[in-house]
């Protein structure tokens, strides 16, 4: 297999030009102004978890931006073309490609905290995504990240799970749910045409960690929801096209969800607890596809919040007696705008809830976002940068960390081990399922059963 370093060595002038063309095509007015706007005030440094845990120049977001801005000036501004030395312009050569790769894939989780703290509001993640797109166009996405995208394109899910394995696991979880609830009618319905909600999951759940899927199913059961899962592509909510920044591939993956909704005739697409999956489907998907969805899209957190608010399900917080804190996934909260439903749900479902400091849109990235979890080459940086999150968790004194994102959960599991946090890590649905108050099997009225 040709390594990414060998591919950089072998780059032709034509390929470099193609990368530049794609970079240019991703720059709209906003991004172009961002590239001219940084005044190097340095406030972004303290906002970045990479810099906070390893204060070197290359970890300063403004420095990462500089690598990209220098190329923009050299190739797309008059001053940069005529007098590159005077305006800090640099050509897009192999050394610069390496600098981009290191900066935008190797030292950035696209968490956007720098942008929030930027004195002039530069949207750094938008610029870094344009740079990633250029690298993707030159076949310079780290192999393990691209493999995850390729799985989705070839198999309809990012772990290459076969239909048979997926269906078998759903049926197994249905039996488990029936045993847990004592209700032989409890279902994890598959392909129920015309169901109100299509519920989508992260392949990590059926593959290795199915308790969160079972917990979500238990909440639907208690609410007597009219829901279904899909057995064919469209059941996986993930979209690593958000990370490799190949918008065409990202659009193809989003299309799986749109097709499943049409195939099953559902009215509401429910995105399970996943940060990037929500951000990709809710905000980027319509951009990638260049059209609006003909259906409603909601986060599972919002659905659970409504169940509790309306009294459709009831919970007893005494069943969750341990101290609980909440992690805010960047793509769900800072980028995605979903911050309160999970808090309302947890305040109702657990005895003692403590916030991290800072929290909500100011929260620190766990270190695993932006595709970092998939890129082995940057593992040491990922664990080191996660030190900010580890300290935040320690400071709460919590015994349970709730994270409405499977990507974050995996990173938090590693931080738990590396930093000896001694915490349990769970989804919001797992906390709700644990606290559910039910009076035996619900009355059968046909809803929620096949």
């Amino acid at each position: 297999m040709v390594t990414i370093e060998e591919r950089i060595d072998a780059l032709t002038e034509r390929e470099l030009q193609h990368g530049l063309d794609v970079f240019r095509s991703k720059l709209r007015a906003a991004e172009a102004s961002y590239l001219n706007a940084c005044v190097h005030c340095g406030l972004c440094a303290e906002s970045c978890h990479y810099f906070r845990m390893e204060p070197t120049l290359e970890n300063v977001p403004a420095r990462k931006l500089d690598h990209v801005a220098a190329v923009f000036r050299r190739h797309f501004t008059t001053a940069g073309r005529l007098a590159p030395g005077l305006v800090g312009a640099r050509g897009f050569d192999r050394a610069m490609v390496r600098a981009w790769l290191d900066a935008v894939f190797g030292r950035c989780s696209l968490c956007g905290r720098c942008s929030l703290n930027c004195t002039i509001g530069i949207g750094l993640p938008r610029v870094f995504r344009a740079a990633r797109a250029a690298l993707a166009a030159m076949d310079l996405v780290p192999d393990d990240l691209q493999a995850t995208v390729d799985n989705s394109l070839r198999h309809g899910n990012n772990m290459a799970i076969t239909r048979e394995d997926w269906v078998d696991t759903v049926q197994w979880l249905e039996e488990e749910l029936q045993m847990e609830t004592g209700d032989p009618e409890a279902r994890l319905p598959l392909d129920r045409h015309g169901a109100k909600m299509l519920f989508t999951v992260n392949p990590r759940e059926p593959k290795f960690f199915p308790l969160s899927l079972q917990a979500s199913a238990k909440v639907f059961w208690a609410a007597r929801e009219d829901w279904t899962l899909a057995s064919d592509p469209g059941w996986d909510l993930t979209n690593y096209g958000l990370f490799n920044c190949n918008d065409e591939q990202a659009g193809q993956i989003t299309q799986n969800l749109v097709d499943a909704m049409a195939r099953l005739g559902c009215t509401t697409l429910v995105i399970g607890e996943c940060g990037h999956g929500f951000g990709a489907a809710r905000w980027e998907g319509p951009e990638w596809l260049q059209r609006t969805y003909p259906f409603e899209l909601r986060s599972m957190l919002d659905v659970m919040d409504e169940y509790l608010e309306s009294g459709r399900i009831t919970v007893d917080p005494a069943r969750n007696a341990k101290t609980v804190t909440l992690h805010d996934p960047c793509n769900l909260v800072r980028h995605g705008g979903v911050s309160e439903p999970q808090r309302r749900v947890l305040r109702r479902s657990v005895s003692r809830f403590v916030e991290m400091t800072p929290s909500r849109e100011h929260n620190f990235c766990c270190g695993g976002g932006g595709g970092q979890l998939a890129m082995a080459a940057y593992k040491d940086r990922r664990i080191r940068s996660g030190g900010m999150k580890a300290q935040q968790i320690k400071d709460t004194g919590a015994e349970i960390v709730v994270a409405p994102c499977h990507n974050c959960i995996d990173q938090l599991m590693e931080l738990n081990k590396e930093y000896r946090l001694g915490v349990q890590i769970k989804t919001v649905a797992e906390m709700v399922a644990e606290a559910l108050v039910t009076d035996g099997p619900p009355p059968t009225d046909g809803k929620g059963t096949t």
Partner: protein, 106 residues
Amino acid sequence: MASIECNGMQVELNPEGFLVDPGAWNDDLARVLAVQEEGLQTLDAQHWSVIRFIRQYYDEHQSAPMVRLICKSTGLPLKRIYELFPSGPAKGACKLAGLPKPDGCV
């Protein structure tokens, strides 16, 4: 490139501690990986039943089995799998069985 010593031989690991060459795997290597990567000083019969099934499945399918299949074939309940391998089925059990790191959010 990281490496691990086993029976006087250096075996290459990727930065996340997974074998670079799954074909280099053997029982002794599983024991060394268990100590270094998973903090397990000994592997008991239940650990081995999980590791052997994963390895056999990988040899046949070139992929990691669903946790459902691990439970079914070993007869162990799901919660026991998580107790046996604190880092979970992927970064724990599959790593000890010498598989490459699975793709996805793991």
